[in-house]
């Protein structure tokens, strides 16, 4: 079948947008948290719900695509996904937002499964179609947080969902045009190949670890270090850029999929461990670990997905398994890591407050100024709601005389430094744990030769 360029572009974009949703709201989480007055643990469900439902629905949706026409199913999935995006954008409460995320994941599962077949049909080649599908997914997952952060800063977190609607709906004509032409190369009555256990297990573990790289790093930047979503978006761009650089590197190395997957898992683990050892709260310290994580991402996801799909039928079903593994891994990552860092954040509270008290007491400001500051600082600390407090309003409210400005500024810097240290420390165990998950991915990756390379 001749390549249908516009259809390939529209369908690839749809795949990218759906899989970007896995992490697109990461940088919007602090804003969502404030709007719905919930906790860090509560807001993490905005990510968890989508990934959990997508993981659970991916294989059933893929089975449906094997039995029914992927063109028609894909169109339905795209419309459901777009409608649920609108629900998320207009959600008056966290409950409605979570319900919208469930709908997005259900529609998204059908979109992802059907688009694998549709892209193969549109490109006229199984390897090219599958590579397009996997590449669009990796690009979406890697660029999602960046796009989400920029939209949150420029407009609002709701705009993330609004912008997805036209992009996804633009693929509906392409899906309808391919009705009856996709997924015809497999007889549904024939037995299916078993899913590639090692590749899918490695995908799950790497995805769990990558959750940390994006979710934890973004929270550390925005909540812990008080960077804006746009700044955080720019900072975490290093991961997708490094992931793109991994392709040429892998091609030049010609080391084989097992070697790429093992090296990628080690790189992700090393990058995450370095994020646990940050020597300062400046964004520059996160760049090298992010580059290592990005290189690892580029080396692992592509090669593992290719191994999981290679020569296995039905294609859509195995595509479904890779999505289930990746998003199941993300859910496991969120479920393991969120309690760890929220507990560490809670434990860091008392020492941080004591450090703040010590610096205020020992500062060279007059007693009346210290008392005025203490009132404001007390309010900020009381209003933290499980988050890292912003102390700047306390200094503005104290309205200290100009003669004390230099000392007040030095004190504010000192207090911010203590908070940044406490926040950085609170994320340390979660980053280390995530690094361990990435390192565990080396074990299944070592089993890739044989079935994986048949």
């Amino acid at each position: 079948m001749a390549a249908m360029r516009p259809a390939v572009i529209a369908l690839s974009l749809a795949v990218g947008v759906v899989l970007a949703d896995s992490a697109v709201v990461t940088l919007a989480l602090p804003d969502i948290l404030r709007q719905y007055e919930t906790t860090v643990g509560g807001v993490s469900w905005v990510l968890t719900t989508f990934n959990l439902v997508l993981a659970l629905a991916a294989v059933p949706a893929a089975r449906l695509c094997v039995r029914r026409d992927p063109g028609a199913l894909g169109a339905v999935g795209l419309v459901v996904f777009a409608a649920c995006c609108a629900v998320c954008a207009a959600a008056p409460s966290l409950g409605v937002l979570l319900a919208g995320r469930v709908g997005q994941a259900l529609g998204g599962a059908v979109v992802i499964a059907s688009c694998l077949e549709l892209l193969v049909a549109a490109t006229g080649s199984e390897p090219r179609g599958a590579a397009r599908w996997a590449g669009a997914g990796v690009a979406g997952a890697a660029l999602g947080p960046v796009a989400g952060g920029l939209l949150t800063q420029a407009i609002s977190w709701q705009s993330i969902f609004i912008f997805q609607v036209p992009v996804v709906l633009a693929a509906v004509p392409a899906a309808l045009a391919l009705r009856g032409r996709a997924g015809r190369d497999h007889d549904p009555s024939l037995p299916s190949d078993r899913p590639h256990l090692a590749a899918n297990a490695a995908l799950a573990l790497i995805s769990a670890a990558l959750t940390a790289a994006l979710f934890l790093l973004v929270l550390l930047l925005v909540e812990g270090w008080q960077r804006s979503p746009a700044q955080a978006a720019l900072i975490v761009t290093v991961i997708p850029v490094a992931a793109l650089a991994a392709g040429p590197l892998a091609r030049a190395a010609r080391a084989g999929t097992r070697s790429e997957a093992v090296a990628g898992a080690i790189a992700v683990a090393g990058g995450l461990a370095a994020l646990a050892l940050l020597p300062g709260a400046e964004a520059v310290w996160t760049l090298a670990p992010q580059a290592l994580v990005g290189l690892g991402l580029g080396l692992t996801i592509d090669s593992l997905t290719a191994v999981a799909l290679r020569d296995r039928v039905p294609r859509a079903l195995h595509g479904g398994w890779t999505i289930a593994a990746r998003h199941g891994g993300i859910v496991v990552g969120l479920l393991i890591l969120t309690p760890v860092f929220t507990a560490d954040l809670r434990d860091a509270r008392a020492p941080a407050q004591e450090a703040i008290a010590a610096q205020v007491l020992d500062s060279r400001l007059p007693a009346s100024s210290k008392l005025a500051l203490a009132e404001g600082l007390g309010e900020q600390l009381a209003d933290e709601g499980g988050r890292v407090p912003d102390l700047a309003p306390a200094f503005s409210a104290a309205d200290l005389p100009a003669a004390q400005a230099a000392r007040a500024a030095a004190l504010e810097r000192g207090l911010d430094d203590q908070l940044e240290r406490a926040a950085t420390g609170a994320f340390r165990d979660a980053f280390l744990l995530a690094g361990l998950l990435a390192l565990l991915a080396v074990v299944p990756a070592l089993f890739l030769r044989g079935r994986g390379e048949r």
Partner: protein, 224 residues
């Protein structure tokens, strides 16, 4: 595994190891530690500095040393004590943690302030009343003739009538600690409470010292 296949994981391992080593050397190992609370029983540079001859600075120093004294005797950090005192619920929690009642906590605080005055007095850190007087007069915004009158009083007389140490001890003894704690959230109320306590103590000290100078017969006539 071929040499080519081993090279890529090995390169990743070297990169990761180099990055971790560099970050550990740059201080990543202990960056996330916040400033720990100092031992309240040990000397502290910030409280051993000379006290400026102003009531506010003097009151602050007495409170800071008092907090150290109280924290030391209770076996908690000064910061833990400071964070717990302004909020009734936190005070209760601290008292419970220490196995004492809230009243006992208040008494400990009062005793700590008393010991602070003694410690500062012994160390010669309490400014003389004559040194404090110009700032007090300036704050009172007295008419010109009254200021001239106060200026005319010899420093020696001022220092003998209102010696700083005894006045502060008297002020601490008369403090209503519960009211003081309840007013911690309002800096204006706290300031006026402390000022009233010091003024009252100063008046009582002057009265007591003047009476001491009088012959016993005259004191009897005054009903003392």
């Amino acid at each position: 595994m071929s040499r080519r296949a081993i090279a890529l994981p090995l390169a990743a391992l070297v990169l990761a190891g180099a990055l971790l080593g560099a970050y550990a050397l740059a201080g990543g190992d202990d960056y996330s530690e916040v400033q720990g609370a100092a031992d309240p029983c040990a000397a502290r540079a910030s409280v051993d500095r000379p006290v400026a001859p102003e009531l506010e600075a003097l009151a602050e120093r007495v409170v800071l040393v008092g907090l150290d004294e109280t924290a030391c005797s209770l076996g908690v950090s000064r910061e833990r004590l400071v964070l717990a005192l302004p909020v009734a619920e936190d005070r209760r929690a601290l008292a419970e943690e220490l196995g004492i009642s809230e009243d006992e906590l208040g008494r400990e605080l009062k005793a700590g302030l008393g010991r602070a005055v003694d410690r500062l007095d012994r160390a010669g850190r309490l400014p003389r009343a004559s040194a404090l007087l110009p700032a007090i007069v300036a704050e009172l915004d007295l008419p010109g003739f009254a200021e001239d009158l106060v200026d005319a009083i010899p420093d020696q007389t001022v220092d003998s009538l209102v010696p700083t140490g005894p006045v502060l001890r008297r002020a601490v003894r008369s403090l209503d600690v519960q009211a003081l704690l309840d007013g911690l959230g309002d800096s204006d109320q706290l300031e006026s409470m402390l000022r009233d306590a010091v003024e009252e103590a100063a008046q009582e000290e002057i009265r007591a010292r003047l009476l001491d100078e009088l012959p016993e017969s005259v004191r009897g006539l005054l009903g003392e």
